[in-house]
Protein backbone atom coordinates (compact mmCIF):
# COMPACT_ATOMS: atom_id res chain seq x y z
CA UNK A 1 0.00 0.00 0.00
CA UNK A 2 2.67 2.49 1.01
CA UNK A 3 4.53 1.47 -2.11
CA UNK A 4 1.43 2.12 -4.19
CA UNK A 5 1.13 5.51 -2.61
CA UNK A 6 4.69 6.37 -3.53
CA UNK A 7 4.15 5.29 -7.10
CA UNK A 8 0.89 7.16 -7.48
CA UNK A 9 1.84 10.37 -5.79
CA UNK A 10 5.48 10.73 -6.73
CA UNK A 11 6.53 8.55 -9.63
CA UNK A 12 3.41 9.13 -11.62
CA UNK A 13 3.34 12.70 -10.43
CA UNK A 14 -0.21 12.94 -9.14
CA UNK A 15 0.97 14.43 -5.85
CA UNK A 16 2.57 17.29 -7.70
CA UNK A 17 -0.51 17.68 -9.86
CA UNK A 18 -2.54 18.11 -6.70
CA UNK A 19 -0.07 20.64 -5.34
CA UNK A 20 -0.25 22.56 -8.60
CA UNK A 21 -4.03 22.49 -8.26
CA UNK A 22 -3.73 23.76 -4.72
CA UNK A 23 -1.79 26.82 -5.83
CA UNK A 24 -4.47 27.64 -8.39
CA UNK A 25 -7.10 27.17 -5.68
CA UNK A 26 -5.26 29.42 -3.27
CA UNK A 27 -4.60 32.13 -5.84
CA UNK A 28 -8.17 32.22 -7.10
CA UNK A 29 -9.57 31.96 -3.58
CA UNK A 30 -7.46 34.75 -2.10
CA UNK A 31 -7.94 37.14 -4.98
CA UNK A 32 -11.64 36.37 -5.22
CA UNK A 33 -12.20 36.84 -1.50
CA UNK A 34 -10.20 40.04 -1.41
CA UNK A 35 -11.97 41.55 -4.39
CA UNK A 36 -15.29 40.38 -2.96
CA UNK A 37 -14.69 42.10 0.37
CA UNK A 38 -13.49 45.31 -1.25
CA UNK A 39 -16.70 45.53 -3.21
CA UNK A 40 -18.90 44.25 -0.40
CA UNK A 41 -18.02 46.92 2.16
CA UNK A 42 -19.37 49.90 0.23
CA UNK A 43 -22.37 47.89 -0.94
CA UNK A 44 -23.16 46.82 2.61
CA UNK A 45 -22.89 50.46 3.64
CA UNK A 46 -25.39 51.51 0.98
CA UNK A 47 -27.69 48.82 2.22
CA UNK A 48 -27.20 49.76 5.85
CA UNK A 49 -27.88 53.42 5.19
CA UNK A 50 -31.09 52.36 3.46
CA UNK A 51 -30.37 54.58 0.46
CA UNK A 52 -33.56 54.23 -1.56
CA UNK A 53 -32.80 52.66 -4.93
CA UNK A 54 -29.31 51.46 -4.13
CA UNK A 55 -30.26 49.36 -1.18
CA UNK A 56 -32.94 47.54 -3.17
CA UNK A 57 -30.39 46.95 -5.90
CA UNK A 58 -27.92 45.57 -3.39
CA UNK A 59 -30.61 43.35 -1.92
CA UNK A 60 -31.51 42.12 -5.38
CA UNK A 61 -27.92 41.34 -6.24
CA UNK A 62 -27.36 39.55 -2.96
CA UNK A 63 -30.50 37.44 -3.21
CA UNK A 64 -29.86 36.61 -6.85
CA UNK A 65 -26.25 35.55 -6.44
CA UNK A 66 -26.85 33.70 -3.19
CA UNK A 67 -29.95 32.13 -4.67
CA UNK A 68 -28.53 30.52 -7.79
CA UNK A 69 -25.88 27.81 -7.89
CA UNK A 70 -22.36 29.19 -8.13
CA UNK A 71 -21.86 27.15 -11.25
CA UNK A 72 -24.43 29.25 -13.09
CA UNK A 73 -22.69 32.47 -12.08
CA UNK A 74 -19.44 31.32 -13.58
CA UNK A 75 -21.11 29.74 -16.63
CA UNK A 76 -22.91 32.93 -17.46
CA UNK A 77 -19.93 35.15 -16.77
CA UNK A 78 -17.62 32.98 -18.82
CA UNK A 79 -19.64 31.66 -21.69
CA UNK A 80 -21.58 34.90 -21.86
CA UNK A 81 -18.51 37.01 -22.30
CA UNK A 82 -15.81 34.88 -23.87
CA UNK A 83 -16.76 35.48 -27.47
CA UNK A 84 -16.90 39.18 -27.02
CA UNK A 85 -13.59 39.27 -25.17
CA UNK A 86 -11.91 37.05 -27.68
CA UNK A 87 -13.01 39.27 -30.52
CA UNK A 88 -11.69 42.27 -28.65
CA UNK A 89 -8.40 40.60 -27.81
CA UNK A 90 -7.90 39.35 -31.34
CA UNK A 91 -8.58 42.83 -32.65
CA UNK A 92 -5.73 44.07 -30.51
CA UNK A 93 -3.56 41.10 -31.46
CA UNK A 94 -3.58 39.31 -28.11
CA UNK A 95 -5.09 36.04 -29.24
CA UNK A 96 -3.01 33.88 -26.93
CA UNK A 97 -3.19 35.90 -23.81
CA UNK A 98 -6.94 36.05 -24.10
CA UNK A 99 -6.96 32.30 -24.26
CA UNK A 100 -4.70 31.77 -21.31
CA UNK A 101 -5.36 34.63 -18.92
CA UNK A 102 -9.04 35.09 -19.47
CA UNK A 103 -10.26 31.96 -17.69
CA UNK A 104 -8.23 32.96 -14.67
CA UNK A 105 -9.62 36.47 -14.67
CA UNK A 106 -13.16 35.24 -15.09
CA UNK A 107 -12.59 32.64 -12.40
CA UNK A 108 -11.51 35.30 -9.96
CA UNK A 109 -14.37 37.61 -10.97
CA UNK A 110 -16.92 34.84 -10.51
CA UNK A 111 -15.56 33.84 -7.12
CA UNK A 112 -15.47 37.50 -6.12
CA UNK A 113 -19.05 38.03 -7.23
CA UNK A 114 -20.18 35.10 -5.11
CA UNK A 115 -18.15 35.83 -2.01
CA UNK A 116 -19.17 39.47 -2.31
CA UNK A 117 -22.85 38.59 -2.05
CA UNK A 118 -22.25 36.60 1.11
CA UNK A 119 -19.92 39.22 2.59
CA UNK A 120 -22.54 41.92 2.06
CA UNK A 121 -24.91 40.04 4.32
CA UNK A 122 -22.22 39.51 6.92
CA UNK A 123 -21.26 43.17 6.98
CA UNK A 124 -24.84 44.33 6.94
CA UNK A 125 -25.71 42.19 9.94
CA UNK A 126 -22.63 43.41 11.79
CA UNK A 127 -23.29 47.05 10.99
CA UNK A 128 -26.82 46.75 12.22
CA UNK A 129 -25.58 45.29 15.48
CA UNK A 130 -23.38 48.28 16.32
CA UNK A 131 -25.08 50.05 19.25
CA UNK A 132 -26.66 53.30 18.06
CA UNK A 133 -25.46 55.17 21.12
CA UNK A 134 -21.85 54.76 20.09
CA UNK A 135 -22.56 56.33 16.73
CA UNK A 136 -24.53 59.10 18.37
CA UNK A 137 -21.54 59.84 20.54
CA UNK A 138 -19.45 60.20 17.39
CA UNK A 139 -22.04 62.42 15.76
CA UNK A 140 -22.35 64.64 18.78
CA UNK A 141 -18.58 65.14 18.73
CA UNK A 142 -18.89 66.24 15.09
CA UNK A 143 -16.59 63.53 13.83
CA UNK A 144 -16.56 63.58 10.03
CA UNK A 145 -18.51 60.69 8.57
CA UNK A 146 -15.49 58.84 7.26
CA UNK A 147 -13.75 59.06 10.61
CA UNK A 148 -16.84 57.79 12.38
CA UNK A 149 -16.93 54.96 9.93
CA UNK A 150 -13.28 53.95 10.03
CA UNK A 151 -12.60 54.66 13.68
CA UNK A 152 -15.84 53.70 15.37
CA UNK A 153 -18.26 51.77 13.20
CA UNK A 154 -15.82 49.57 11.35
CA UNK A 155 -13.72 48.32 14.28
CA UNK A 156 -16.82 47.43 16.25
CA UNK A 157 -18.61 45.93 13.25
CA UNK A 158 -15.54 44.00 12.13
CA UNK A 159 -15.43 42.26 15.45
CA UNK A 160 -19.00 41.16 14.94
CA UNK A 161 -18.39 40.30 11.28
CA UNK A 162 -15.29 38.23 11.83
CA UNK A 163 -17.00 34.90 12.41
CA UNK A 164 -19.20 35.40 9.38
CA UNK A 165 -16.27 36.41 7.21
CA UNK A 166 -14.43 33.33 8.34
CA UNK A 167 -17.38 31.26 7.18
CA UNK A 168 -17.43 33.06 3.85
CA UNK A 169 -13.72 32.46 3.39
CA UNK A 170 -13.99 28.77 4.17
CA UNK A 171 -16.80 28.54 1.68
CA UNK A 172 -14.99 30.59 -0.93
CA UNK A 173 -11.82 28.57 -0.89
CA UNK A 174 -13.93 25.54 -1.67
CA UNK A 175 -16.03 27.37 -4.21
CA UNK A 176 -12.87 27.80 -6.24
CA UNK A 177 -13.55 24.31 -7.55
CA UNK A 178 -16.07 26.06 -9.79
CA UNK A 179 -13.29 27.50 -11.92
CA UNK A 180 -12.66 24.05 -13.30
CA UNK A 181 -15.53 24.73 -15.68
CA UNK A 182 -13.49 27.36 -17.44
CA UNK A 183 -10.76 24.81 -17.92
CA UNK A 184 -8.58 25.57 -14.94
CA UNK A 185 -7.33 22.59 -13.07
CA UNK A 186 -7.67 23.56 -9.48
CA UNK A 187 -7.39 21.16 -6.59
CA UNK A 188 -10.70 19.35 -6.86
CA UNK A 189 -10.50 18.92 -10.62
CA UNK A 190 -6.96 17.57 -10.35
CA UNK A 191 -8.21 15.14 -7.76
CA UNK A 192 -11.12 14.11 -9.96
CA UNK A 193 -8.85 13.40 -12.90
CA UNK A 194 -6.41 11.50 -10.74
CA UNK A 195 -9.27 9.56 -9.20
CA UNK A 196 -10.70 8.61 -12.57
CA UNK A 197 -7.43 7.60 -14.16
CA UNK A 198 -5.89 5.75 -11.23
CA UNK A 199 -9.19 4.30 -10.06
CA UNK A 200 -8.40 5.38 -6.49
CA UNK A 201 -11.10 7.94 -5.90
CA UNK A 202 -11.08 7.76 -2.13
CA UNK A 203 -7.35 8.29 -1.91
CA UNK A 204 -7.30 11.34 -4.12
CA UNK A 205 -10.42 12.97 -2.80
CA UNK A 206 -9.13 12.54 0.72
CA UNK A 207 -5.75 13.91 -0.30
CA UNK A 208 -7.48 16.94 -1.78
CA UNK A 209 -9.57 17.30 1.36
CA UNK A 210 -6.36 17.14 3.38
CA UNK A 211 -4.88 19.98 1.35
CA UNK A 212 -8.01 22.05 1.73
CA UNK A 213 -7.89 21.38 5.41
CA UNK A 214 -4.27 22.49 5.60
CA UNK A 215 -5.15 25.72 3.83
CA UNK A 216 -8.09 26.43 6.10
CA UNK A 217 -6.20 25.45 9.21
CA UNK A 218 -3.63 28.10 8.44
CA UNK A 219 -6.28 30.70 7.76
CA UNK A 220 -8.13 29.60 10.88
CA UNK A 221 -5.20 30.47 13.12
CA UNK A 222 -4.95 33.84 11.41
CA UNK A 223 -8.61 34.42 12.08
CA UNK A 224 -8.25 33.43 15.71
CA UNK A 225 -5.48 35.96 16.13
CA UNK A 226 -7.50 38.68 14.49
CA UNK A 227 -10.45 37.79 16.64
CA UNK A 228 -8.35 38.19 19.73
CA UNK A 229 -7.15 41.53 18.46
CA UNK A 230 -10.63 42.84 17.86
CA UNK A 231 -11.87 41.57 21.18
CA UNK A 232 -9.67 43.96 23.09
CA UNK A 233 -11.87 46.26 25.09
CA UNK A 234 -14.74 43.84 25.25
CA UNK A 235 -15.52 41.59 28.13
CA UNK A 236 -16.75 38.27 26.92
CA UNK A 237 -20.41 37.45 27.33
Amino acid sequence: MSFDLWVLLVERGWGFALLRGATVTLAVGLLGMLAGIIVAVPLALLRWRRLPIFSQAVDGYSILVRGVPGLLVIYLLFFGSIEWVQRLATAFGYQNSADDAYPFVIGVVAIAAISCAYSIEVFRGALEAVPVGLLEAAKSLALPNHVTFFRVTLPIALRLALGGLNNVWQMTIKDTSLVSVVGMQELMRSAAIAAGITRSPLLFYCAAAGMFFALTAISQTLFSHTERFFNRGFSRG
Binding site: I63, G67, V68, P69, L71, Y75, Y118, L202, F213, T216
Partner: protein, 226 residues
Protein backbone atom coordinates in the same frame (compact mmCIF):
# COMPACT_ATOMS: atom_id res chain seq x y z
CA UNK B 1 -34.35 28.61 -25.58
CA UNK B 2 -36.93 26.41 -27.23
CA UNK B 3 -40.25 26.02 -25.54
CA UNK B 4 -40.44 22.28 -26.04
CA UNK B 5 -37.17 21.87 -24.16
CA UNK B 6 -38.68 23.75 -21.26
CA UNK B 7 -41.87 21.74 -21.31
CA UNK B 8 -39.82 18.57 -21.53
CA UNK B 9 -37.46 19.43 -18.70
CA UNK B 10 -39.74 21.09 -16.15
CA UNK B 11 -41.78 18.00 -15.17
CA UNK B 12 -38.58 16.09 -14.39
CA UNK B 13 -37.13 18.99 -12.44
CA UNK B 14 -40.34 19.35 -10.47
CA UNK B 15 -39.98 15.78 -9.30
CA UNK B 16 -36.39 16.56 -8.38
CA UNK B 17 -37.44 19.73 -6.58
CA UNK B 18 -39.38 17.65 -4.09
CA UNK B 19 -36.24 15.79 -3.12
CA UNK B 20 -34.18 18.98 -2.98
CA UNK B 21 -36.80 20.43 -0.69
CA UNK B 22 -36.77 17.31 1.45
CA UNK B 23 -33.00 17.41 1.89
CA UNK B 24 -33.07 21.14 2.64
CA UNK B 25 -35.85 20.86 5.17
CA UNK B 26 -33.97 18.13 7.00
CA UNK B 27 -30.78 20.16 6.67
CA UNK B 28 -32.41 23.05 8.51
CA UNK B 29 -34.56 21.07 10.92
CA UNK B 30 -31.71 18.85 12.09
CA UNK B 31 -28.73 21.02 11.20
CA UNK B 32 -29.89 24.08 13.11
CA UNK B 33 -30.32 22.46 16.52
CA UNK B 34 -27.18 20.42 15.93
CA UNK B 35 -25.21 23.55 15.03
CA UNK B 36 -26.54 25.44 18.03
CA UNK B 37 -25.63 22.57 20.30
CA UNK B 38 -22.14 22.56 18.84
CA UNK B 39 -21.89 26.32 19.33
CA UNK B 40 -22.86 25.99 22.97
CA UNK B 41 -20.35 23.21 23.49
CA UNK B 42 -17.64 25.26 21.81
CA UNK B 43 -18.41 28.23 24.05
CA UNK B 44 -18.56 26.06 27.18
CA UNK B 45 -15.81 25.91 29.74
CA UNK B 46 -15.40 22.15 29.48
CA UNK B 47 -11.98 21.95 27.81
CA UNK B 48 -12.26 18.45 26.37
CA UNK B 49 -15.72 18.89 24.94
CA UNK B 50 -15.14 22.32 23.51
CA UNK B 51 -11.86 21.20 21.99
CA UNK B 52 -13.47 18.24 20.24
CA UNK B 53 -16.31 20.42 18.97
CA UNK B 54 -13.69 22.87 17.68
CA UNK B 55 -11.96 20.10 15.80
CA UNK B 56 -15.19 18.78 14.41
CA UNK B 57 -16.09 22.21 13.07
CA UNK B 58 -12.62 22.77 11.68
CA UNK B 59 -12.75 19.48 9.78
CA UNK B 60 -16.22 19.89 8.38
CA UNK B 61 -15.74 23.53 7.47
CA UNK B 62 -12.26 22.97 6.19
CA UNK B 63 -12.93 20.22 3.68
CA UNK B 64 -15.15 20.23 0.61
CA UNK B 65 -18.60 18.87 1.11
CA UNK B 66 -18.20 16.80 -2.04
CA UNK B 67 -15.46 14.86 -0.29
CA UNK B 68 -17.53 14.51 2.85
CA UNK B 69 -20.43 13.09 0.92
CA UNK B 70 -18.11 10.73 -0.98
CA UNK B 71 -16.44 9.49 2.16
CA UNK B 72 -19.77 8.92 3.87
CA UNK B 73 -21.34 7.16 0.93
CA UNK B 74 -18.58 5.43 -1.02
CA UNK B 75 -15.90 5.37 1.66
CA UNK B 76 -17.96 3.91 4.47
CA UNK B 77 -19.73 1.66 1.96
CA UNK B 78 -16.46 -0.14 1.40
CA UNK B 79 -16.22 -1.29 4.99
CA UNK B 80 -17.92 -4.59 5.64
CA UNK B 81 -18.33 -3.79 9.35
CA UNK B 82 -20.59 -0.95 8.39
CA UNK B 83 -22.45 -2.93 5.79
CA UNK B 84 -23.31 -5.55 8.39
CA UNK B 85 -24.62 -3.08 10.97
CA UNK B 86 -28.28 -2.62 10.08
CA UNK B 87 -28.73 0.74 11.82
CA UNK B 88 -25.67 2.37 10.31
CA UNK B 89 -26.36 0.78 6.97
CA UNK B 90 -29.88 2.18 7.05
CA UNK B 91 -28.31 5.64 7.18
CA UNK B 92 -25.23 5.18 5.01
CA UNK B 93 -26.49 2.52 2.66
CA UNK B 94 -29.33 4.57 1.27
CA UNK B 95 -28.17 7.44 -0.89
CA UNK B 96 -30.87 9.86 0.22
CA UNK B 97 -30.21 9.16 3.89
CA UNK B 98 -26.49 9.53 3.35
CA UNK B 99 -27.03 12.82 1.54
CA UNK B 100 -29.16 14.18 4.37
CA UNK B 101 -26.56 13.04 6.89
CA UNK B 102 -23.80 14.80 4.96
CA UNK B 103 -25.79 18.00 4.66
CA UNK B 104 -26.66 18.00 8.36
CA UNK B 105 -23.08 17.30 9.46
CA UNK B 106 -21.76 20.00 7.17
CA UNK B 107 -24.26 22.73 7.88
CA UNK B 108 -23.97 21.96 11.58
CA UNK B 109 -20.34 23.02 11.52
CA UNK B 110 -21.09 26.29 9.75
CA UNK B 111 -24.12 27.01 11.88
CA UNK B 112 -22.03 26.43 14.98
CA UNK B 113 -19.59 29.10 13.87
CA UNK B 114 -22.39 31.54 13.18
CA UNK B 115 -23.96 31.01 16.58
CA UNK B 116 -20.68 30.88 18.43
CA UNK B 117 -19.77 34.40 17.35
CA UNK B 118 -23.30 35.57 18.03
CA UNK B 119 -23.20 34.14 21.54
CA UNK B 120 -19.79 35.63 22.21
CA UNK B 121 -20.86 39.09 21.12
CA UNK B 122 -23.73 39.37 23.59
CA UNK B 123 -23.31 42.11 26.18
CA UNK B 124 -22.13 40.47 29.35
CA UNK B 125 -24.39 42.51 31.57
CA UNK B 126 -27.54 41.01 30.08
CA UNK B 127 -26.40 37.52 30.95
CA UNK B 128 -25.31 38.59 34.41
CA UNK B 129 -28.77 40.03 34.93
CA UNK B 130 -30.34 36.68 34.30
CA UNK B 131 -27.82 34.87 36.46
CA UNK B 132 -28.50 37.34 39.21
CA UNK B 133 -32.21 36.62 38.89
CA UNK B 134 -31.47 33.01 39.70
CA UNK B 135 -32.30 31.69 36.25
CA UNK B 136 -30.67 28.35 35.67
CA UNK B 137 -28.05 27.94 32.98
CA UNK B 138 -30.67 26.41 30.74
CA UNK B 139 -33.26 29.13 31.37
CA UNK B 140 -30.64 31.79 30.82
CA UNK B 141 -29.84 30.18 27.53
CA UNK B 142 -33.42 29.58 26.54
CA UNK B 143 -34.77 33.00 27.41
CA UNK B 144 -31.89 35.42 27.20
CA UNK B 145 -28.81 34.18 25.38
CA UNK B 146 -30.55 32.29 22.63
CA UNK B 147 -33.18 34.88 21.68
CA UNK B 148 -30.55 37.59 21.59
CA UNK B 149 -28.09 35.42 19.67
CA UNK B 150 -30.71 34.45 17.12
CA UNK B 151 -31.32 38.08 16.28
CA UNK B 152 -27.62 38.57 15.85
CA UNK B 153 -27.15 35.40 13.82
CA UNK B 154 -30.13 35.55 11.53
CA UNK B 155 -28.60 37.47 8.60
CA UNK B 156 -25.69 35.04 8.45
CA UNK B 157 -27.90 32.04 8.97
CA UNK B 158 -30.15 33.01 6.11
CA UNK B 159 -27.10 32.76 3.87
CA UNK B 160 -26.45 29.35 5.30
CA UNK B 161 -29.97 28.25 4.39
CA UNK B 162 -29.40 29.34 0.80
CA UNK B 163 -26.18 27.35 0.87
CA UNK B 164 -27.96 24.27 2.18
CA UNK B 165 -30.45 24.43 -0.68
CA UNK B 166 -27.66 24.71 -3.22
CA UNK B 167 -25.27 22.23 -1.64
CA UNK B 168 -28.03 19.66 -1.58
CA UNK B 169 -27.23 19.37 -5.28
CA UNK B 170 -24.15 17.37 -4.31
CA UNK B 171 -26.53 14.56 -3.46
CA UNK B 172 -26.70 13.97 -7.19
CA UNK B 173 -23.13 12.67 -7.05
CA UNK B 174 -24.37 9.79 -4.95
CA UNK B 175 -27.28 8.96 -7.25
CA UNK B 176 -29.97 10.95 -5.47
CA UNK B 177 -32.32 12.28 -8.09
CA UNK B 178 -32.90 15.80 -6.91
CA UNK B 179 -32.99 18.79 -9.22
CA UNK B 180 -29.37 18.54 -10.27
CA UNK B 181 -29.57 14.79 -10.67
CA UNK B 182 -32.31 15.17 -13.25
CA UNK B 183 -30.54 18.12 -14.78
CA UNK B 184 -27.45 16.01 -15.43
CA UNK B 185 -29.52 13.35 -17.16
CA UNK B 186 -31.28 15.94 -19.25
CA UNK B 187 -28.00 17.55 -20.18
CA UNK B 188 -26.40 14.37 -21.39
CA UNK B 189 -29.53 13.48 -23.26
CA UNK B 190 -29.98 16.77 -25.09
CA UNK B 191 -26.60 18.50 -24.82
CA UNK B 192 -28.58 21.68 -24.22
CA UNK B 193 -26.26 22.33 -21.32
CA UNK B 194 -26.77 26.06 -20.89
CA UNK B 195 -30.51 25.94 -21.36
CA UNK B 196 -31.02 23.14 -18.86
CA UNK B 197 -28.70 24.87 -16.50
CA UNK B 198 -30.62 28.11 -16.60
CA UNK B 199 -33.93 26.34 -16.05
CA UNK B 200 -32.40 24.45 -13.14
CA UNK B 201 -31.01 27.61 -11.62
CA UNK B 202 -34.41 29.20 -11.83
CA UNK B 203 -35.67 26.39 -9.63
CA UNK B 204 -32.96 26.98 -7.03
CA UNK B 205 -33.46 30.71 -7.23
CA UNK B 206 -37.15 30.34 -6.61
CA UNK B 207 -36.64 28.18 -3.56
CA UNK B 208 -34.01 30.51 -2.19
CA UNK B 209 -35.96 33.67 -2.84
CA UNK B 210 -38.78 32.16 -0.84
CA UNK B 211 -36.56 31.07 2.02
CA UNK B 212 -34.47 34.26 2.07
CA UNK B 213 -37.46 36.56 2.05
CA UNK B 214 -39.26 34.59 4.72
CA UNK B 215 -36.13 34.70 6.86
CA UNK B 216 -35.92 38.42 6.27
CA UNK B 217 -39.51 38.73 7.47
CA UNK B 218 -38.68 36.77 10.59
CA UNK B 219 -35.67 39.00 11.10
CA UNK B 220 -37.84 42.08 10.87
CA UNK B 221 -40.43 40.56 13.16
CA UNK B 222 -37.86 39.71 15.80
CA UNK B 223 -36.13 43.07 15.78
CA UNK B 224 -37.14 45.01 18.85
CA UNK B 225 -35.96 48.43 17.78
CA UNK B 226 -37.18 50.42 14.77
Amino acid sequence: MELDLVTYAVPFLLVGAKITLLISVFGVALGLPFGIALAVIRASKHRMLSRSADIYCAVFRGTPMLVQIFVIYYGLGQLSAIRSNPVIWWIVGDSLHAAILAVVLNTGAYTAEIFRTALLSLPRGLIEASQACGLSVWSTFRHVRFPLAVRQALPAYSSEVAIIVKESSLASTITVLEITGYAKRLMSETFAIMDIFIITSAFYLMMNVISLTSLKLIERKLSFDK
